[in-house]
Assembly symmetry: C2
Homo-oligomer: 368 residues x 2
DNA sequence: CAGTTTTCCGAAACCGATTTTGTTGACTTA
DNA sequence: TAAGTCAACAAAATCGGTTTCGGAAAACTG
């Protein structure tokens, strides 16, 4: 039996039973104008022949694909975002229960993303989209709204009205982060974030600022470092902030990747993360547990988020009002060991680091 | 403009130009029995109206979906495999160039996997499958072979004939690993692997054994530990092997996750990975670079693997002989800092560990 | 028992493309 | 000049379903 050929069609079933194919279709779609006896005979034949309706044919008539799409932004060779991997896992699990499928595409630039959306829409391969990593001014969302194509966003934009979204309360969470660090005794708190075009990056920075303000701490722009959202960016951010004349004793990072880089930098220069410098991440990546020290981080379940967003999109497709489908969640602080009371003052820290930066790093990679 | 309604069809184009829709179709499919003038007029109309053919309708007639499928095995809540994330990224990139799409499904058990395959095949949603994480005796491959449905495997099975696959030479790679450790001065080398139902896990164990044999080292089953393929498994494996009366001074791990766990265990008991105990991983996960110490590991590019497998599947769909599409690659050793000459004899190591195991761990997580 | 409803199902239209078959007029050819 | 060729397209069949329409028989009415 090859691909299409040989597979049993609704006509085969109809012929086998001796009814019209419309009748078979009606039985399979639970119309109630079929007598019990024919219904039984048809169901039996369906079973005997192993008939399964062709999704393609059904979709053509119905105009639905029973398929959702997601276009994943990927940096140039930067590798997959571990958060997204779990997010997709969550989506797939939810869709599995609903009998839907997920079409995954990657895009390596903003234009490419829009093109992928266009293509998928024009060729009618998906019924709706899940949009991730929303930007403050998001071209995808603008496009989808304009063309009135169903979608749900994971994350908001500067104007969060008129569409369905699920997001974390970034501002509250990062204000909490500041409060937590303050309660540990930190007075100078640095922030390492990502490009402010990304909505969550902007909001986390704002949350950081709000947290400072609420505690009456002064805001110092020197303590805010915007970097690539990667481990490398974390290293650069830590370096920039810790090299300050009066460095922060705690680093609040917008993502775990940044925090991992920051920790790496600290270790490299002999600063003990968790006491000499406190590092807080965000994402709750599983691998954080196995770092040295294990990373204290805010966690939202990526899997839950995926499942939730998927179900929201299904609701939208079923005709729910997108406006009514907007929900904000909180992330929980998972305390591990990268945070603690400061072991020295910013000035002392600066002294220690000044020495070390001029000499060799304390311990580096070998063999490279 | 809502989902299906309003989108321009081939009929619209035909009417607009004043030709039959078959003519439009022939123009778009590069038939050569159309005059240049009508061709131009039609092409212009296509552009003006922004017409894109419906994939559904085309597929129905053609019997092809231009969509590939992948069913991802996911452990019960264990989270997504970072390797798979990059693998999928690679597939998506390759398919993007070819104008194909990728349908992603997750499955949480063997039965569920087969059911997903069945459903996708029966409903004709995909043209072929990419099978990952092959098992020694793989039900998916058996099923697909039996039903003569196109697929390519990433990894082999006990009988690697009759289908297309791409795999790493696990045996050679792990024999290399043993040789490397031996050349560093290690004589007692342990292996932490995964369930032997997974083909790569079995082959890596065999490679480890072959490596020992080639060097004339004795094989000691005590030094082989089979664990869950997770960080947790790595911890358990390290504990089991290092608690031996004569523990290994080097741990060869089947995956990075295992190695990460093993390192965690070492650190917890004050053993310095890279000198007191050497740990070797496999996968080349990006995060390995940011561990303490950075993980020495074998690397294959998951992205390349994905791209490669995708292209192979396209070849199969184009009629290539699967038998001829089998290829074996090598993984490269990336030396970072978790390997080195042993700092003590197995006996000394046992002594150190005996003390520490009975007391408190050297440094653990706090706040839990 | 004739007229009206229901019940149940066959026939056909339809979804939007591709592909096959048929038709037309222009152009060759004998 | 009648017959045959060919280029260029129209018309219709087809893919495998869903849905609309309508009709025969059975079941109710009064």
């Amino acid at each position: 039996m090859s691909r299409t050929r040989g597979s049993v069609t609704i006509d085969d079933v109809a012929r086998h039973v001796g009814v019209a194919k419309g009748t078979v279709s009606r039985v399979l779609n639970n119309y109630n104008d079929i007598s019990e006896t024919t219904k039984k005979r048809i169901l039996q034949a369906v079973k005997d022949l192993g008939y399964q309706p062709s999704a393609t044919a059904r979709n053509l008539k119905r105009g639905r694909q029973d398929t959702l799409g997601i276009v994943i932004p990927v940096g140039h060779g930067s590798g997959a975002d571990p958060f997204l991997a779990e997010f997709i896992d969550g989506i797939a699990r939810a869709l599995d229960e609903l009998g839907l499928d997920l079409l995954v595409t990657t895009a390596h630039s903003r234009d490419h993303t829009i093109e992928s959306l266009k293509r998928l829409i024009a060729r009618r391969k998906v019924d709706g989209f899940i949009v991730t990593r929303t930007e403050v001014d998001d071209a995808r969302i603008a496009y989808l709204k304009e063309h009135n194509f169903p979608f749900v966003a994971h994350g908001r934009t500067s104007d969060p009205s008129g569409y369905a979204w699920f997001d974390i309360d970034n501002e509250a969470t990062f204000a909490d982060g500041v409060r937590h660090l303050y309660s540990l005794g930190h007075q100078r708190i640095g922030f390492i974030g990502g490009t402010l075009e990304l909505n969550f990056a902007l909001q986390r920075l704002q949350g950081y600022r709000q947290g400072l303000e609420a505690l009456g701490l002064p805001r110092d722009e020197e303590l805010e470092s915007v970097q690539d959202l990667s481990e490398r960016g974390g290293i650069a951010g830590a370096e920039a902030l810790l090299a300050l004349p009066s460095p922060p004793t705690a680093l609040l990072c917008a993502t775990d990747a940044l925090a991992i880089g920051a920790i790496q930098f600290c270790r490299k220069f002999g600063l003990k993360p968790g006491s000499d410098v406190t590092v807080l991440g965000y994402d709750g990546l599983p691998v954080g547990e196995y770092l040295d020290p294990p990373l204290t981080t805010f966690s939202q379940s990526a899997q839950d988020a995926g499942a939730r967003v998927a179900r929201m999109l299904v609701d939208v497709l079923d005709g729910a009002d997108p406006q009514a489908l907007q929900s904000l969640a909180r992330a929980d602080l998972i305390r591990r060991a990268s945070d603690g009371a400061p072991s020295m003052t910013p000035e002392a820290l600066a002294g220690v680091l000044r020495d070390r930066l001029n000499k060799q790093p304390h311990s580096g990679n070998k063999g490279e």
